[in-house]
């Protein structure tokens, strides 16, 4: 295919450091609402609010880039309201960056009778059964109205575990064609950054082709999509590793839907920069605290009399004591978890802080070129030093980039 004229971009990508062993990188990504430090985890504020936290509290966790879901905002409050209010930043009082997805994923996963044609996603209106169509142009127009700093192309999403190679190829090739339609429809390329989404399931050949096609379109950033759908972790790692090997060095790489701490650190080692997931905030509402020693379900009776902080040494506002810290104990979270929403708010703040702090220390270790040691430490903490408990896929994936966790 013929390369398209370079598209404008509303970001600057500055590579700060490279790990001398793995493919990990540290960078500064400057977006319309300020710089963010890569690698980065982005918490998900689905309906323009991060599950009970005020924008001020979210800011205090260190978050400078969060997600909104286009599908949800398209339904509530809707494009007309967003237009009148002046976009999602103004709606939620958020001074920092926002990334929106295309809405296609939720469309397919939440709506029955949605099917995908070349025109777009067809579905029956659940209200009155009228056949309706959501096209790449609709998705981009909506994201233009939302005004997010990073917008995503509408892609043809298929579960990676689908055995239908023919359908997978069709989805991959259609995603490329839809990218062209998205680029053509994008009204604010100097204010909003359109990211393409690499598809191709678990087929490395197809992923390779897709990378080639999409890199040629020269979008300001690149996402690897279709993962985190129940595929084997080893397959996931192979796909990420293959894609990052084919992507230009000077563009941010975003792996969609990833959020478990061990997935994050391994993906960084494989050369990915940005991640998002609802898990940290969702699990908080179930009373689960993420710590470096694993996830604690604070609703369990064993924590009823545990007067220690949620995580010893944690710097979040809940765990800190003195100087504005709240000194929240596990016993108190146990007391309110699933009974008062404050319990959810407290753990949401802790979990978001944990994820962001994890990525900050990953970044620092890359800059100081001690990321391999960081990885060893991380897995040792997570599994209490018991190497037999290390997940095989992580050991394997890291070996491929030069880190032997077992040594």
């Amino acid at each position: 295919m013929t390369p398209i004229t370079p598209m404008p971009s509303a970001l600057a990508f500055e590579l700060v450091a490279r790990c001398s062993t793995t493919k990990a990188r540290a960078a500064i990504l400057t977006l319309p609402h300020g710089p963010v430090q890569l690698p980065l985890f982005m918490p998900v504020a689905t309906q323009a609010s991060l599950k009970g936290l005020t924008p001020q509290q979210l800011e205090e966790t260190g978050c400078r880039l969060c997600l909104n879901n286009t599908y949800h905002l398209g339904l509530k409050p809707g494009q007309e309201v967003l237009e009148k209010v002046g976009g999602a930043h103004k709606l939620q009082g958020w001074k920092h960056n926002i990334l929106t997805d295309s809405g296609g994923f939720q469309m397919v996963s939440l709506l029955k009778l949605a099917n995908i044609t070349e025109e777009g996603v067809r579905f029956l209106s659940p209200h009155d059964g009228t056949p309706m169509l959501l096209t790449p142009e609709h998705s981009i127009a909506l994201q233009n109205t939302i005004g997010s700093d990073i917008i995503m192309q509408l892609d043809d999403v298929l579960v990676t575990t689908s055995p239908d190679t023919k359908r997978m190829r069709e989805a991959m090739e259609r995603s490329v064609r839809w990218l062209d339609r998205c680029i053509a429809a994008h009204a604010n390329p100097t204010k909003q950054n359109l990211f393409c989404i690499i598809q191709g399931g678990l087929d490395l050949q197809m992923r390779t082709e897709c990378c080639k096609e999409m890199v040629a379109r020269n979008t300001p950033g690149i996402a690897i999509g279709g993962l985190s759908g129940g595929e084997a972790k080893a397959d996931y790692c192979r796909v990420v590793n293959t894609c990052t090997g084919l992507l230009p060095e000077m563009k941010p790489r975003y792996v969609m839907g990833i959020g478990y701490p061990e997935d994050l650190v391994v993906s960084v080692a494989l050369g990915a920069d940005m991640f998002d997931c609802v898990w940290p905030t969702r699990t908080a509402r179930f009373g689960n605290a993420i710590t470096k020693h694993g996830v604690l379900n604070l609703r369990h009776a064993r924590y009823a009399n545990d007067f220690g902080p949620v995580e010893e040494g944690c710097g979040c506002v809940c765990c800190r004591t003195g100087d504005g810290g709240l000194g929240i104990t596990k016993a108190f979270v146990h007391h309110v978890a699933a009974k008062e929403t404050v319990g959810a708010h407290l753990l949401t703040m802790h979990n978001v802080w944990y994820q962001l702090a994890l990525m900050r220390s990953v970044r620092q270790s890359i800059i100081e070129d001690r990321f391999p040691a960081f990885l060893k430490n991380f897995f040792s903490d997570l599994h209490g030093g018991d190497k037999s408990k290390y997940p095989e896929w992580a050991v394997e994936a890291l070996k491929n980039v030069g880190v032997d966790l077992m040594e």
């Binding site: 005020t54 339904l75 509530k76 309706m132 609709h138 007391h335 404050v342």
Partner: protein
Amino acid sequence: MAASNGFPGAGRKIAFEILSHLDANVAGPRLGKLSIKGRHDVETPNFFAVTSRGVIPHLTPDVISSHTHIGGVHMALEDFVERAMGGTPPVVNCPGPSPLHTFTALPKSLPSLLAPRRTPAVSAPNGNSNSAISIFTSTGFQVLSNKSYISYVENLRPDIAISLADIPYGALPGTKRVAKMGDRTQEWLSQLINEKREEQVIFAPVLPIDYLDQSEYLNNIADEQADEVSGLALYDSNLLPDIPATTAITKLPRLSLDEPSSPRQILRQVSLGMDLFTVPFIGFATDAGIALTFRFPRPLPTGVAISNGVGALQLGVDMWPAVHATSVTPLDTSCSCYTCTSHHRAYVQHLLSAKEMLGWVLLQVHNHHILSEFFAAIRESISSGNFDADCEEFGRIYESELPEKSGQGPRVRGYHFKSEGPSEPKKNRPAWGNLGSDDQEASSKLVPDEPAAELEGKGFAEKMED
């Protein structure tokens, strides 16, 4: 004319100073200052926020510190002791000099007030006995004896503890029962006074029955226990004019547990000389999606008054209706709270309609702020001698009750209420429908529930030609 009930003994932790009172023998509004060692001073009249399981609903402690100016908090022992049957409740094991504060991560500056029961309390099926009352924990009804209440007070060290009162929530007590109420309450108070640590501050309950039926109990407080008791907690504010007007009793701070349902009722109680309040209607308004907008005695000059068309101003605005969907004005244009300075109606309306928890957080911050301002204005008015005229003006300008709620509140939990009969409607809508059933839940928030044309108008998708 300032009377002071200040730190007489070295062990005393509390002082109440009456700053202005026209005549101690005549009921009337008064200004005061409540000082508790280690906490901020509370200028009265003022209010203590109502908590549930030790938290002000929706507000994390950092939000309380940064965005509210409440006098203190009211906590209920029944919110902490569901594990008492099988051992010690965890709150008792909490280390530190003030376990209740530490356990609930309550900001250090805020005074804590411990009562046996929530306000409002759920009525218990079993009555109280000579030595114990019925309480309602998150796992069901329990018996709380005065002996264990005294030991909880001893262990939890709240800044103020209200002594156990024999109150039959629900049914009106008969004549025989009424006679017992005063006796039991007096007995329980005496036991608490005898066994408590010297520095523990105690408020004596005033029962919601006629003065004559509890005169013996109240006279006993006036004659024998006025030095041991640091305040009165009135379950019925109408008793205030009947309280013996001895100097010792008059100088005590008075807390209302009368659950006023409107600002007018607060004003009435202030005019009788009430000092401290719990105001459950703040939480009711928040959960109903209502932003309180009343000011005392009249709207601020910068405020845009909301009229219902008849002349009287509404006390609050229902934030559910779609008319707010594109309104980028604050909930109340004259308000300086976090919600009004950082957000607008469109956001709050969106959050309520999307059932996002933040909607109630923002309303709770705003509504507590409005009450803080209301009490500040009341103090100002008393101090300038205009209170009666201001009350009259307020009554003329504003409606008497809060607006009706139109939307759904957050989910109600089991310990918040108890069904009173078999035919009661469900308090919560079902959270989940069948996944993948043939009739896709059109009311679920995750699927569009508007007609296709409307969806198209929103730019969400387009209708297909046949």
